[in-house]
Symmetry: C2
Subunit: 371 residues, 2 copies
């Protein structure tokens, strides 16, 4: 195991090397989009997405690119407090379901031709399944209602493991990444992190997760409030890495690392729902330059997500009231990313198609003196 | 040409034969969805969509089905009033672009494996292009600021032509339809129709279309107001067919017919943006049973569309600020329709996957006496 200082320096170097988007490529994409056979601006935010993709890629974004969703799985000690509708065992069972191809993310991944990488960041029990990338920093976090979820070294290792997943994806030719996760208890950790890093009231950021009733929802809020007070991170202005260690999760840390890694490798990264967005929050608090590489996907039904999207200044494209996680919303939104790339590359220009452009050729039918 | 009375009776028979959704199939789909390896209800409106699809189809909706967008094209005499940023010629030019494969709808259709049928319902000039289905009720509507846009016979023929497109699609094995359109001036006709049929104020339903400036927007509002007053359809409670004749369009009538035809043939029909939604409004005013067969797609940036979706009680799935028409939003949303079918058919159940279901197997970790 590398020394903490060495790892910390490595992360600092990664962050320092991240570049802003390529302005020339963005201008080129905007100019191209404006020549296409459609009214100016009529593809709305799909045009802005095409321009962002060009800025990330350094040229018009190519079509039919290789895409991957990285599903980070881990368990949470705080499940001891009875904050989830499902037992911790479900994390490992769902990891097995991912490898067998039966989960929602598998179905949507097959539909969208998106590779699925399942990473065991710290599931309670080692599934030993061959289709799982085994990192296993530890067998789930500690119960953050009683102690820090992770040591600083563990959190840093998890971040860097996520970064390495982005590096490997880049080496494998992946051109679009998406974030996914599985971890019973992780809406509790995400709510605690969001409250600590945004200063929003716990009542606004704690939701029903996989399906709590009213009584259990109140209990979950109380657990989060007590944890924030115990760790002294309920007063706003909190160091993001410290908050991650205290109330975060191994998969959340890994996703934050994946996002930073995507920015470092100039790969757009599509952010799924509430847990993934909390990881994005951690990533941009640690590394503000990563923001430009984020692509929103859907608005989750988990309460807190809409507020978090507003806080991050991200406007989701899809609203289906989903709250499943796994990366399902992000994989659906990859269809829109591909669409943005395709219209930019494949649509005819006014000149190609011989279509009149209002700027160049005023209407024959406009009665000139009427108004 | 058939006699008006005969055509009218034909339409009445079609409407009378439309059946409600199949409740048994919907219950079967809901039961299936509830057994899948995900928290109950966690796929949100995708689950409701899967249930609706089953109710339309009469069984679980199949995967990888043949899909078609029908792009109805026509011109509008009201362009004489200077209400569009583009000349009427662009309608025919874009029809040519559709047949050449260079328009946005072509790109998105190729991406989503959606067939594109282009129908000339009444473009000003006959393009004579082989890839275009030629109906051509007439060479564009008359200027509805001066007279009725269509005769009752013309509007009825257009409706029935749309119905026949749905019949042909059903015969060709198409399982999902989408509405698309092209017609310079058709946001003006749609706004007038929407105001007439909903009673909303003209200022709320007239938007910038393909890109009007403030002055031209005010002029467009004035043209619509004057037309509604002249035709005496500005007092709420208006016969929908009469309003369609007076201020509608050939492509709007055809889309209303396509929607009614989809319901008659039990095919789900995905509704694009403002013009398509106005056609849906006409369809459900004429034939309320058609409502259950509608699937919303995106929320258009054209002002009036959000209000129209609320009026129709449809909640769009995609928000990209698009306002292009052609069926582009509907074709994007077909990916979500396919996703709903796939998760229902392909996800593992709790039993298949050996995953704990909270109902059956309470958490080992829930401290029983704590709360």
């Amino acid at each position: 195991m590398e020394d903490f200082k060495v790892l910390e320096q490595k992360l600092q170097e990664i962050i320092a090397a991240i570049q802003p988007l390529d302005k020339a490529a963005m201008e080129k994409a905007r100019a191209r989009v404006d020549l296409l056979t459609k009214p100016l601006g009529s593809l709305g935010r799909m045009e802005d997405l095409a321009v962002q993709l060009a800025g990330i890629h350094g040229d018009l974004f190519p079509v039919d690119t290789a895409k991957r969703v990285v599903v980070m799985a881990a368990d949470h000690g705080v499940t001891e407090e009875g904050i989830s509708a499902y037992p911790s065992e479900v994390t490992a069972q769902m990891v097995a379901n991912f490898t067998a191809g039966g989960a929602a993310i598998n179905v949507l991944g097959r539909q969208g031709k998106v590779e699925i990488e399942v990473v065991d960041m710290g599931v309670k029990v080692d599934t030993g399944l061959p289709g799982v990338k085994k990192i296993r920093i530890k067998s789930g976090t500690d119960n953050f209602r009683r102690q820090a979820a992770m040591t600083r070294s563990e959190a840093l290792q998890a971040l860097l493991a996520g970064f390495e997943c982005a590096e490997e994806a880049a080496a494998a030719g992946i051109k679009v990444l998406a974030t996914g996760e599985m971890g019973i208890g992780n809406t509790t950790a995400s709510s605690a992190l969001m409250a600590a890093l945004t200063g929003y009231d716990v009542s606004l950021v704690v939701g029903r997760g996989t399906g709590l009733d009213d009584q259990k929802l109140r209990h979950k809020q109380q657990v989060v409030e007590e944890a924030l007070a115990m760790h002294n991170i309920n007063e706003g202005k909190v160091d993001p890495f410290a908050a991650l260690c205290k109330v975060g999760g191994l998969e959340i840390a890994a996703l934050a690392g994946l996002i930073i890694g995507a920015a470092a490798k100039r790969i757009p990264v599509v952010i799924d729902g509430f847990i993934s967005s909390t990881a994005a929050l951690v990533a941009v608090k640690i590394c503000p330059e990563a923001f430009s590489y984020l692509i929103p996907s859907h608005i989750s039904a988990e309460s807190g997500h809409a507020l978090l999207m507003d806080y991050l200044n991200l406007k989701p494209y899809i609203n289906m009231g989903m709250r499943l996680g796994e990366g399902t919303g992000a994989v659906l939104a990859m269809h829109l990313v591909e669409a943005a790339a395709r219209v930019t590359n494949e649509m005819a220009t006014f000149e190609d198609a011989g279509v009149s452009n209002k700027e160049e050729e005023p209407s024959l039918f406009e009665p000139k003196g009427e108004r």
